[in-house]
């Protein structure tokens, strides 16, 4: 790969000797690029700090008991909060988790243990990877086409849309961590006369559990922050939800709606809701990290 030619240009080879001088061009270039890389790394982390500072400053100022317990204010009203949106977000994420985790785990068991090299496993692995890069809004459009047209906007439809987005993350993470379980352990279990399902339930799943839980936590965190698919499926509501089959509020849609309003009160609430949403997402991310550290 190197274009250093040692044979044809003796003077050149003299200059590129192993002895390093601090002020030759190549050392200076290297130093300059190193400085630039440091600069880029620091510049790249500025947005995160800026977002966090703004959230704490703008959102923290407004985050009080009223914000957490009251309903969203209308137009010129002062005060108000987003309690219904917090509940809605949690309910829809729970529905999504209840759908995607069992299906995802079973699919991962098939991909990792039962038949890893079959054409079906290859196809569904590839599809799962493709789905991770799938625009989240299309999950909403899909659920709209399947559920909303027939049953109307609802928390269930929102949960299904989020489940479509969670599924690939759960599958791929669970497959990866089940594959990490040492072959010797499963061999030993088979040697003791265990059936395949006994090996899976008693050896593979408990051993791979930290990795599986990490994947689930990350999927939940991602789903909690999603907004685009909820525009089409759960819509929004200014009231507390009383049943699962009615339009439901969520934090992300509340932020989206309020951010464009010309009222300061709503914009302040949007910041406070963002702070709550980011805290929810971060809690799941930190949980994922903590669980993931205790790996096999």
């Amino acid at each position: 790969m190197s274009d250093i030619d040692l044979t044809s240009r003796p003077q050149e080879s003299q200059r590129l000797s192993l002895e390093r001088r601090p002020f030759e061009l190549r050392a200076l270039t290297s130093g300059l690029l190193t400085g630039m890389t440091w600069g880029i790394a620091i510049l790249g982390s500025i947005p995160l700090f800026s977002v966090i500072i703004m959230l704490v400053a703008e959102g923290g100022a407004r985050l009080d008991i009223e914000a957490l317990t009251a309903l969203p204010p209308a137009g010129f009203e002062m005060g108000g909060g987003f309690a219904n949106a917090i509940i809605g977000t949690l309910v829809m994420v729970a529905i999504a988790a209840a759908i995607s985790i069992p299906i995802g785990l079973l699919a991962a068991i098939y991909l990792a243990i039962l038949d890893p090299h079959s054409p079906l496993a290859g196809t569904s692995r590839f599809v799962a990877k493709t789905l991770t890069g799938f625009p989240s809004i299309l999950a909403g459009v899909f659920t709209y086409a399947v559920l909303v047209i027939n049953f109307g906007y609802s928390a269930v439809a929102g949960g299904v849309a989020l489940a479509v987005l969670m599924l690939p993350t759960v599958v791929l993470a669970a497959e990866e961590s089940m594959k990490q379980v040492p072959q010797k352990m499963t061999d030993a279990a088979y040697g003791m006369g265990c059936t395949r399902s006994q090996v899976i339930w008693k050896v593979v799943l408990p051993t791979g559990l930290p990795g599986i839980l990490t994947g689930i936590m990350l999927a939940v965190a991602g789903a909690a922050g999603e907004s685009a698919p909820l525009l089409f499926t759960a819509l929004f509501s200014n009231y507390f939800m009383s049943e699962l089959m009615e339009p439901t509020a969520s934090l992300s849609i509340l932020i989206y709606n309020f951010s464009a309003m010309p009222f300061d009160n709503q914009i302040e609430l949007a910041w406070a809701a963002s702070l709550v949403l980011v805290l929810i997402v971060l809690v799941f991310n930190i949980l994922a990290r903590l669980i993931g550290q205790s790996k096999v």
Binding site: I4, T130, A145
Partner: protein
């Protein structure tokens, strides 16, 4: 006669007994359930294509390819064309890719090429991953109240001094291409960085040692050995990052201005397919919904192609370094 010590071995529930017929049955039922869940994932994507395609069909039949080349979106006259949105989607993603790609690859180099202590690198990697964890809609809010005000004086200066160049051709009135692309770049940076870090990690350590052994400086090793070796992985990172950018919705819907026009200027408002869907759908009537579904099909096709290309390159890279997976 004493009690038979092996008596308990007769019961099928005993640990040392052979699996009973019931165990085998449970085993095959379990296998079938797991298999159908794996198949469900494949069925799911086919079903998604079928459903969205089905809803879009009336609009596809009516507008045909003129939908893709048309430039007006007028519900009153039922004229629907998404060329400006396709342009906006590709242009914003391309700008984000240039910025987010440069930063992402540079940060991956920073994290993997011994610039900082391994423990510090882990902390920094966490910071980059947290960038990915922040919800899109929060970036949108941040963009409106932080990025746009910050960008405005810069944009004014660029427009007044360099306005003759088309990309600075208009003033920044508020939302527009530049703030949208900037936020989009921040959002794809973690994707690009993570996949590029993987690509660098796959290179055997000996390769770098050999380069240093030849007397290269750190940057000669990076530019002439590490980057070419990791090139296919980096390409995959860039393509997948581009795919992410194409599908991003909320931040763009809040920042890009939702204006149906094709303009080279960085400061002009524009629109993307995803943000057209997000902003028009809630109030759309039946005919407009069909047209929007057609737009969703266009977006689906573009992102599917880009993602599949990216995954293909990534798999090729893995195979190159690790033999057949």
């Amino acid at each position: 006669m004493a009690v038979n010590p092996f008596q308990h071995a007769d019961s099928a529930s005993s640990v040392s007994g052979p699996p009973s017929g019931g165990d085998y049955l449970a085993d095959s039922i379990f296998r079938i359930i797991a298999l159908s869940c794996a198949a469900l994932i494949v069925v799911l994507i086919l079903y998604i294509l079928w459903e969205i395609g089905g809803l879009a069909f009336p609009a596809m039949a009516q507008h045909g390819l003129s939908f893709v080349s048309g430039t007006t979106w007028n519900v009153g006259t039922q004229e629907f064309g998404v060329l400006p949105e396709i342009w906006g989607t590709l242009y914003s993603s391309f700008l984000a890719l240039i910025l987010g790609g440069t930063f992402g690859v540079a940060i991956a180099i920073f994290l993997t090429q011994d610039f900082i202590h391994a423990r510090l690198a882990a902390v920094f990697r966490t910071i980059v991953e947290l960038l990915a964890a922040i919800p899109s809609v929060v970036y949108g809010l941040w963009g409106i109240y932080v990025v746009i005000p910050m960008l405005r004086p810069v944009a004014e200066w660029l427009h007044s001094e360099l306005g003759f160049i088309p990309i600075f051709g208009t003033e920044l009135s508020g939302p527009g291409m530049a703030p949208a692309a900037l936020v989009l770049a921040i959002m794809i940076l973690p994707t690009v960085a993570a996949i590029t870090v993987d690509a660098f990690r796959r290179i055997p350590y000996k390769v770098k040692e050999a380069a240093y052994g030849m007397g290269t400086t750190r940057w000669e090793a990076i530019l002439k050995v590490m980057l070419p070796t990791a090139s296919s992985g980096i390409l995959a990172a860039l393509v997948l990052g581009f795919g992410r950018a194409l599908g991003e919705t909320m931040a763009l819907a809040m920042l890009i201005g939702n204006s149906n026009q094709i303009n080279l200027s960085l400061f002009a408002p524009a629109n993307t397919l995803a943000s057209l869907l997000a902003s028009s759908f809630p109030e759309a009537g039946q005919i407009e919904v069909q047209a929007l579904m057609y737009a969703a099909v266009v977006l689906l096709l573009i992102t599917l192609i880009v993602n599949i290309v990216g995954l293909g390159i990534q798999q090729y890279t893995v195979r190159k370094f690790e033999g057949k997976a």
